[in-house]
Amino acid sequence: MNEQTNIIVDTATRMFADGVDKALLDAAETGVFPVALWQSVLATGFHSVGSPDSGTGLGELYAFLDVAGASAVPLPLADTLFANAWAGTIDGVSGIGEVAGETIVDVPWGRVAERVIGVVPGSAEIVVVDAVTVLAEGANMAGEPRDTVALPADARRISLARDPLPLLALARAAQSIGALRTVLQSALGYAGEREQFGRTLSNFQAIQHSLAVQAAEVAAARRAVWAAVDSLETDRAEHEVAVAKARVGEAASLVCEAAHQVFGAIGYTHEHRLHHFTRRAWAWREEYGNETFWQQQLGLHIARTGADNVWSFVTGR
């Protein structure tokens, strides 16, 4: 990571550690938009990380999303950052969803968005809705707002340099590795504190091994995401994103299951913070293509490349 990324990561880490607590997360799930938190994002200029004239690029953007995921920041940050990069920076939040007929569906925080962008899988053209009409409010399994908004016939269209879907899939993967890091760290902390049979849980080999496996999964997931980020300027970007999204999804399944087991009943309560992270990691597996979707894309490409070229594909750059 370069100096600039480090500064963004450090500042954002502090900002979200201070600004995101359990009460805020609970409130966000009842539909209360965290205005003060959004104001501090605006004040630091983080809403334009990755935008052309911000002096930052995709590397910084994904590093920022990792940090946001680690705090389960209940703002549509990936949406806002990409929308600002693609359609120009505005001061309000943006949502991005998928075009479905005359609607755009699964729009994060569509209800408060000042702008909504619709993507069409397989197309580099996006639609931009500047006057947002919400048709239905919904949420994913993490309680994050996912709304349906109207797509007017005269919506602006913008052709991007590349298909946005892989970039958005990688955004969810980047948020997920942040969330998974937090899940693991929480489980490590809890295992070191909770005592049963006169010893902390961390003394039990079964618990040690479970945490070791979780740590390996988190390390793999994180490595996969940064590899994809580092490949974005190559013609393999989409394949590396497929690797990352699929690998992170598998890690999320394993880590969340095992971490809940370490926590026992307390981690199953609504009062505990753990579920804000595990439910997000679960939900994000499904957004912008789940593991199977990306495995099939990748597998199909490899099959077409042919058995004797599998290795050169795997080692390609």
């Binding site: 091994h209 740590a215 290795w311």
Partner: protein, 378 residues
């Protein structure tokens, strides 16, 4: 350790990749039985050819025949050889761990005597750690060496010693002094045994895949000269644990089953069913991630960093991957018997080898313990 370095292989190492591929294409006679397990092909002629190319001892000083190249270069050469199913077993241990061990701890005379022939692909080493009553609990070794006039006398037995019946030397972990109370780590030493001339009795043990790769070695008053102790007598524990981390992070820890993937891709063809494509993609996503992780560890080795925990991470994930890769292809394999033939051969070979993946080089449970220690849990 939750974060491995974001390493990209340097251009120079990538250029080397093309050379290795060209070399392999020129020598199809050595690739008769495609299998990417690093222990199944023992081919001295092939090892000597690699030696001529400078592809053994690549990172070692030129003074001992080494190439003074980066760990990235070595990473690329080893993964290319394994993926092609090249027979690398003869020189593998010497190149991967015995050489680096001698380089780090050996006497000057030992380095001069043993390292150059290793780099030429002429001297092969085996690892003498396990014993009939010593597996994971390595400090419990009972094979002993007593100092006498003119050298050391070894008594005891080693077991599971890969390629001892075909290799030249063994580096045996032996007890040279009693433990100090509860501290069993003192009094251990590593001694080089000449497997062909010192009088140790080597007997191959057939494995469940039908191969005769590992052995039992019995020592009855085997006398070896004074200068065979690696480094200092009594320093064995420190040496053996440092050696183990070289053993754990390389591409041989996740490529053993690679040929099964290749044959699966061949079997399903260019127009796979969705579930077949998903299996290929799933395997590839893991494989590509493991490569990055292993390269990250190569980068740490390059920087002279301690890698035991990171290496354990790679081995843990890699060995599990090698085990479920064949299984995933089996469950997705189409019923057509003719189409299945090549895949089935690779699958069956690998499946039969697979129990060893999470045992050799430290068991899954031991590695998880190493990772847990790195996490501060023990």
């Amino acid at each position: 350790m939750l974060e491995l370095d974001r390493v990209t292989l340097p251009e120079a190492s990538e250029a080397l990749r093309a050379q290795v591929r060209a070399f392999l294409a020129e020598h199809p006679e050595h690739l008769a039985e495609p299998n990417s397990d690093f222990t199944t092909g023992h081919d001295p002629a092939f090892s000597r050819k690699l030696g001529e190319r400078g592809w053994i001892g690549m990172t070692w000083p030129a003074a001992y025949g080494g190439g003074e190249r980066s760990f990235f270069d070595r990473y690329v050469v080893t993964e290319e050889l394994l993926a092609a199913g090249a027979p690398v077993s003869a020189h593998w241990i010497a190149d991967r761990q015995s050489g680096p061990l001698l380089l780090r701890f050996g006497t000057e005379a030992q380095k001069q005597a043993y390292l150059p022939p290793i780099t030429r692909g002429e001297a092969y080493f085996s690892i003498g750690m396990s014993e009939p009553n010593t597996g994971s609990d390595l400090a419990s070794v009972r094979t002993s060496a007593k100092q006498v006039d003119g050298g050391w006398v070894i008594n005891g037995a080693k077991i599971w010693t890969t390629d001892a019946h075909r290799n030249h030397f063994l580096i045996a972990l032996v007890r040279t002094a009693p433990p100090e109370g509860k501290n069993r780590h003192v009094g251990l030493s590593q001694i080089i045994v000449d497997l062909r001339n010192d009088g140790a009795k080597v007997r191959p043990i057939r494995n469940m895949a039908g191969g005769e790769d590992f052995n039992e070695i019995v020592f009855e008053d085997v006398l070896v000269p004074e200068d065979r102790v690696v480094g200092e007598p009594g320093n064995g524990w420190k040496q053996v644990t440092s050696e183990l981390s070289f053993e754990r992070s390389g591409p041989e820890r996740f490529l053993s089953a690679f040929r099964v993937l290749v044959e699966f891709v061949r079997m399903v063809g260019a127009d796979p069913a969705p579930h077949e494509a998903a299996v290929i993609g799933r395997i590839a996503a893991h494989l590509m991630t493991l490569r990055r992780m292993s390269a990250s560890v190569a980068g740490m080795l390059n920087d002279g960093k301690q890698v035991d925990v990171e290496a354990a991470l790679v081995k843990e994930l890699g060995n599990n991957f090698e085990k479920w890769l064949p299984e995933l292809t089996r469950l997705a394999a189409p019923a057509d018997r003719d189409a299945r033939r090549a895949w089935r051969t690779a699958y069956e070979q690998t499946q039969l080898l697979s129990p060893s993946f999470t045992l050799r080089g430290g068991t899954r449970e031991i590695l998880r313990g190493v990772i847990a220690r790195g996490l501060g849990l023990r």
